[in-house]
């Protein structure tokens, strides 16, 4: 398939932002082992963003990976604002968001494996394995928490209800979005059904402009400002 550079950038931006947001949980996870696992996944996301930015920087003769990650104007980021939606340190929201996004990322990486560009395909294959760890892990936790008693179930369903209106925007302005949306719904349906949870996500309407087209929410702008603070203090610093 012919890979859309816009899709690659969207995925990289998603992973960059979610990696930063999820890193906030380091040291605050509900149990030690999960704290470590969630932090490792946040590191994975940041690493995956780097791999994709490096590809974009070399293939499109763009600025370096760091410049792509930290040097762009807010409107030039193509991430979905689901990534920076405040979770208020609610573990149910954080887990559910990662679950919804991990399956989306897995589908994009699956498609990028067959990209015409061999370099991109090789990178996608490399990342897909780690993405599978995330989906496996998060599927298991969705089921554990969904079936973990009335309180856990209520928290998880409430989290999904909070996220569902924003989750459809993952599919704003990406290639083959009808097909990918259908595959994503199938991908998340198994774990949700086993957990007894529901997540009714609407396909985004074209008239609603969101993060994929550069119209970002205030929480993205705040996160971006914090994330680029060091870069702004020392423009052009090499690390």
């Amino acid at each position: 398939m012919t890979a859309s550079m816009n899709d690659v950038l969207a995925l990289a931006d998603d992973k960059l932002m979610l990696g930063h947001v999820q890193s906030d949980w380091t040291g605050l996870g509900p149990i030690l082992e999960e704290d470590i696992a969630a932090s490792a996944m946040a590191q994975d996301d940041l690493s995956h963003a780097l791999v994709l930015y490096e590809f974009l920087a070399t293939s499109d003769a763009q600025d370096g990976a760091d410049e792509l990650a930290f040097g762009r104007a807010v409107a030039d980021y193509r991430c979905c604002d689901l990534m920076t939606l405040p979770d208020d340190f609610d573990w149910a929201v954080a887990t559910s968001r990662r679950f919804l996004f991990a399956h989306f990322a897995a589908i994009l990486l699956q498609d990028l494996r067959t990209a015409d560009n061999a370099e991109l395909a090789e990178r996608a294959i490399r990342l897909q394995g780690e993405q599978a760890i995330q989906t496996t892990h998060l599927n298991a936790w969705m089921v554990r928490l969904g079936t973990g008693g009335d309180d856990a179930y209520a928290r998880m369903q409430s989290a999904l209800n909070t996220l569902a209106p924003h989750a459809g925007m993952l599919f704003e302005d990406i290639e083959d979005r009808d097909d990918r949306f259908a595959r994503w719904q199938t991908a998340i349906a198994g774990a949700l059904a086993e957990a007894g949870l529901t997540c009714d996500v609407d396909f985004p309407v074209a008239s609603v402009k969101g993060g994929r087209r550069g119209a970002h929410a205030a929480h993205f702008i705040e996160q971006h400002a914090e994330m680029t603070q060091v870069r702004a203090a020392e423009p052009g610093a090499a690390w």
Binding site: D24, E33, I36, F89, E130, H137, A237
Partner: protein, 202 residues
């Protein structure tokens, strides 16, 4: 620190108690599919599914790993730890259940899977394992019932992080940044020297 961490949250009610249902699991990894399981570390998890999941994530990514073996900590029985190699003994027999044997070559080194013995109970398993594997060359023998050992399956291999991981390692400061730091520290030293010199002078 993230600004988001500045937010103080109030959680109603008492904090939950400990984790009485958590079990302590021992983890071993294999570098090669047909290679021995080598001691990797411990983790806590409520059941075997979660324990294998965490084992893959915590111990399957630090180095090439083709398989993982875990058992609950209390499932093991072992010989004494010798400063010198322990004696082998002459226990023999092949009745009873199968036990996986791990041997530690020298005190302080890791336990590595050595093979199996059959025995009706843990004490007999240790004795037979000593006889079969000690040979005056190991400092400790550990046995675990095979039925208490849980392993990943070959179809899970696709998810190991067993590729080049260098891209996710933290990178050091470049020469430019190091030079800036050196310049900054030097300037700071000069300022302090001047300040103290003036104070002493007057």
């Amino acid at each position: 620190m993230s600004k988001r961490r500045d937010i103080m949250y109030d959680f109603p009610g008492d904090l939950p108690g400990g984790k009485p249902d958590d079990a302590h699991w021992a983890v071993y990894t294999r570098k090669k599919e047909d290679g021995p399981a080598r001691w990797a570390g411990y983790l806590d998890a409520v059941d075997v599914t979660l324990a294998l999941q965490y084992a893959r994530e915590h111990y399957g990514q630090d180095e090439v790993c083709t398989g993982i073996l875990i058992h609950r900590h209390e499932a093991l029985a072992d010989s004494e730890y010798g400063v010198d190699p322990i004696a082998g003994g002459d226990a023999s027999g092949d009745d009873g259940e199968a036990w996986t044997v791990f041997a530690q070559r020298r005190r302080g080194m890791i336990h590595i899977e050595a093979g199996t013995v059959r025995a009706p109970d843990a004490a007999t398993a240790v004795a037979r394992a000593r006889s079969k594997f000690a040979n005056g060359k190991v400092s400790n023998i550990r046995v675990v019932r095979e039925a208490d050992c849980y392993q990943t399956t070959p179809d899970e291999l696709a998810i190991w992080r067993n590729h080049d991981m260098s891209y996710k390692l933290a990178r050091g400061y470049s020469k430019d940044v190091r030079a800036k730091w050196a310049q900054f520290r030097s300037r700071s030293d000069d300022d302090r020297y001047a300040s103290e010199d003036i104070k002493d002078h007057y």
